[in-house]
């Protein structure tokens, strides 16, 4: 049986070679389908890992406190994600943040207050720009450096802005000393942050595009501004779990026993973003799957032509002692071979495609063995499903009728 299988493979190779053009076109049908799926999956995996990677880069010592009860992780929560500005009253207060800072294992605390406001300069304006108020620890925890000037924590009207915002407003990266206006108040640019390459991160904003103020400054702009989240940096990984428990306990006590906040660590910080990406990827991959289906129909079509063309050969083989299953295997392996080659080419092509696309995106595609498995696995399933019917049809042929046929 094993030897026969080898025979069938050699045989299939020969017969595929005999019709090079036809084989090539059929294979490319499958390859295109597989390529699009692999490209989408590897890009989506890459995207969903950005945020998680940032958490890891920070040494895994970061905990994030967000207002609202812990999400159950259902689809509904995902759709109703809390976007910036939609929270009217945050359950976390600055005094909570101040309390957290007093915990012995906490190295740094950065409460984040976000405002959306028009930012204007003499030259240009940015509508609904993001204004963030926080402490200096935000820059430490997020690994962001101020390349020009420095982050001003005094009460003066001095602002730190992102590189892109600087370009948008002033047309230059170096905008130190220039002035901009937010809600009628003038600010002097006292620092410009280094260009960042992670527009998606666990803070929920792109540092390149924000205007950064201190807590006090932002409260002067809008005294009712709410805390979006609190970033907590713990002094060591060993203390992380204990600190999270402590945070939960203290905050629960301070909130009168109401679980109206959630303390997140590790991957769960990134979860909402990751899940969203994976769902988008799933939907897109399903659509790409349609092209794979079309590829499968192509295989079936060509295999039916093959069977019809080789009716006489089937008759001869049967007369020479081929069994029903020998004939089935012969044609099934032929279609399987085509789809597998398509799967491999498509898999490689898809990765190449993903890398090319990623040149224009802010993240790298991720090659996983799962993606490779999906490519090869789906391809072979397609080959079997769409090869089975033609093969069965070949095997059912009456040898006498087949031998009579002219070819």
């Amino acid at each position: 049986m094993k030897l026969l299988l080898l025979n069938h493979i050699q045989n299939a190779r020969d017969s595929l070679r005999a019709n090079r053009m036809r084989t090539f076109l059929t294979i490319s049908g499958v390859a295109i389908g597989i390529a699009s799926i692999v490209a989408i999956l590897s890009l989506a995996t890459g995207a969903s890992q950005i945020v998680a990677n940032q958490v890891d880069e920070a040494g895994g010592t970061i905990a994030v406190i967000r207002p609202g009860a812990p999400a159950a992780g259902s689809m509904n929560d995902l759709v109703n994600q809390q976007a910036h500005g939609t929270i009217t009253t945050s359950t976390i207060t600055l005094s909570d943040a101040a309390h957290i800072a007093t915990l012995p294992t906490v190295e740094a605390v950065a409460p984040i207050i976000v405002l959306h406001a028009n930012i204007t300069s003499n030259e240009d304006a940015v509508n609904q720009g993001v204004v963030v108020g926080s402490s200096e620890s935000l820059l430490d925890i997020s690994g962001v450096k101020v390349s020009m000037g420095s982050f001003d924590t005094t009460n003066e009207n001095i602002i730190t802005i992102g590189m892109q915002l600087s370009i948008d407003l002033f047309g230059t990266e170096n905008s130190l000393g220039k002035t901009l206006t937010i809600r009628g108040q003038e600010f002097r640019v006292g620092g410009v942050m280094e260009r960042q390459h992670n527009p998606m991160n666990f803070n929920g904003f792109d540092f390149n595009a924000i205007a950064l103020l201190s807590k006090d400054q932002i409260l002067r702009l809008n005294p009712t501004a709410q805390i979006q989240q609190v970033n907590v940096k713990v002094d060591s990984i060993a203390n992380l779990d204990a600190t999270v428990i402590k945070l939960n306990k203290d905050l629960l006590a301070r909130h009168g026993g109401e679980q109206d906040f959630s303390v997140l660590v590790g991957d769960s910080i990134a979860e909402p973003t990751s899940q969203l990406f994976l769902i988008i990827a799933g939907v897109t991959a399903t659509i790409a799957g349609i092209s794979l289906f079309v590829g499968g129909i192509g295989i079936m079509n060509i295999m039916l032509v093959n069977v019809a063309e080789r009716t006489r050969e089937i008759g001869i083989r049967k007369a020479l002692g081929a069994t029903h299953s020998d004939i089935i295997w012969q044609f099934l392996i032929e279609s399987l071979l085509m789809s597998l080659i398509g799967g491999i080419i498509g898999g490689l092509g898809g990765l190449a495609l993903a890398f090319i696309i990623s040149l224009f995106l802010a993240f790298d595609p991720v090659i996983t063995w799962q993606a490779a498995l999906v490519a090869v696995g789906t391809a072979s399933i397609i080959g079997i499903i769409f090869g089975l019917y033609p093969a069965a049809r070949a095997a059912r042929k009456n040898p006498i009728e087949s031998l009579k046929q002219q070819s």
Binding site: M1, L3, L4, L6, N7, Q10, D14, S15, A18, R312, E313, G315, I316, R317, K318, A319, L320, G321, A322, T323, H324, S325, D326, P399, I400, L403, S407
Partner: protein, 260 residues
């Protein structure tokens, strides 16, 4: 010689075999009650006009077709009881086909064509090809091994087909008008080959239109309208022994049946 043949075992035995085609008004019997016993080592020529059922008979003998009625015993086993895949194995191991239209697979080389039946015995490729090469040598075709079928003359093609039929060392060769597409010189060569194979002890059953070819056979059967019309041993040299053999054949058959 007649005595030897008398003792040789029965290979094929047909009892009242009928093959019906068509439905209703179009229904007709291609075979209408054929009784036939063939022993090992016989060279049987089946003659008869077109449509008398020769080819149908050969197809049934070769397990490519099933009788509608009657019993066919191959090597003492009723084929009706053999599963389809076992029948395929029997075709592979004990039956060799030679066709009028040669039936080589056009995209395979001569050597691969000859090696084809060995594939279904599960033989390794190298062994297959070397065995095929050996047998092609006995047909003086070893220089044509890597030719494609269409590069050969008709006579050569049929010799390749015979080599293919023999490569499995089958006990029965079924030939359906093997010289039907050949000129008389090529026909002669083919018949010499078959005759040689016969002398080596193989059973050959050949359907033919050409009465001159029956001189090579040890027994000639003529068919008409799906039944056997005459059944004689026409071997020129052994006319009398042939008749005797035929007479005693019935006896032995009965004895053999009693023994079973």
């Amino acid at each position: 010689m007649a005595k030897n043949r008398k003792k040789s075992p029965i290979v094929i035995k047909l009892k009242g075999v009928k093959k019906r085609y068509g439905v209703g008004d179009a229904e007709h019997n291609a075979l209408d009650g054929v009784n036939l016993t063939i022993r090992k080592g016989e060279f049987v020529a089946i003659m008869g006009p077109s449509g008398c059922g020769k080819t149908t008979l050969l197809n049934i003998l070769g397990l490519l077709d099933q009788a509608t009625e009657g019993e066919y015993q191959l090597d003492g086993t009723s084929v009706a009881t053999i599963s389809a895949s076992r029948q395929a194995r029997i075709r592979s191991k004990t039956i060799g086909f030679v066709f009028q239209s040669f039936n080589l697979i056009p995209r395979l080389t001569v050597l691969e064509n000859v090696a084809l039946p060995l594939t279904y015995k599960g033989m390794r490729r190298n062994k297959r090809l070397s065995l095929a090469s050996t047998i092609l040598k006995t047909f003086h075709l070893n220089e044509r091994e890597y030719y494609m079928p269409w590069q050969l003359s008709g006579g050569q093609t049929q010799r390749v087909a015979i080599a293919r039929a023999l490569v499995n060392d089958p006990s029965i060769i079924l030939a359906d008008e093997p010289t039907g597409n050949l000129d008389s010189r090529a026909s002669h060569i083919i018949m010499e080959e078959l005759s040689d194979i016969h002398k080596r002890g193989n059973t050959i059953i050949m359907v033919t239109h050409n009465p001159r070819l029956t001189t090579y056979a040890s027994r000639v059967i003529t068919m008409i309208d799906g039944t056997i019309d005459t059944d004689t041993n026409d071997t020129p040299a052994a006319d009398q022994e042939g008749t005797l053999a035929k007479r005693s054949l019935g006896k032995v058959t009965k004895e053999a049946e009693a023994a079973q």
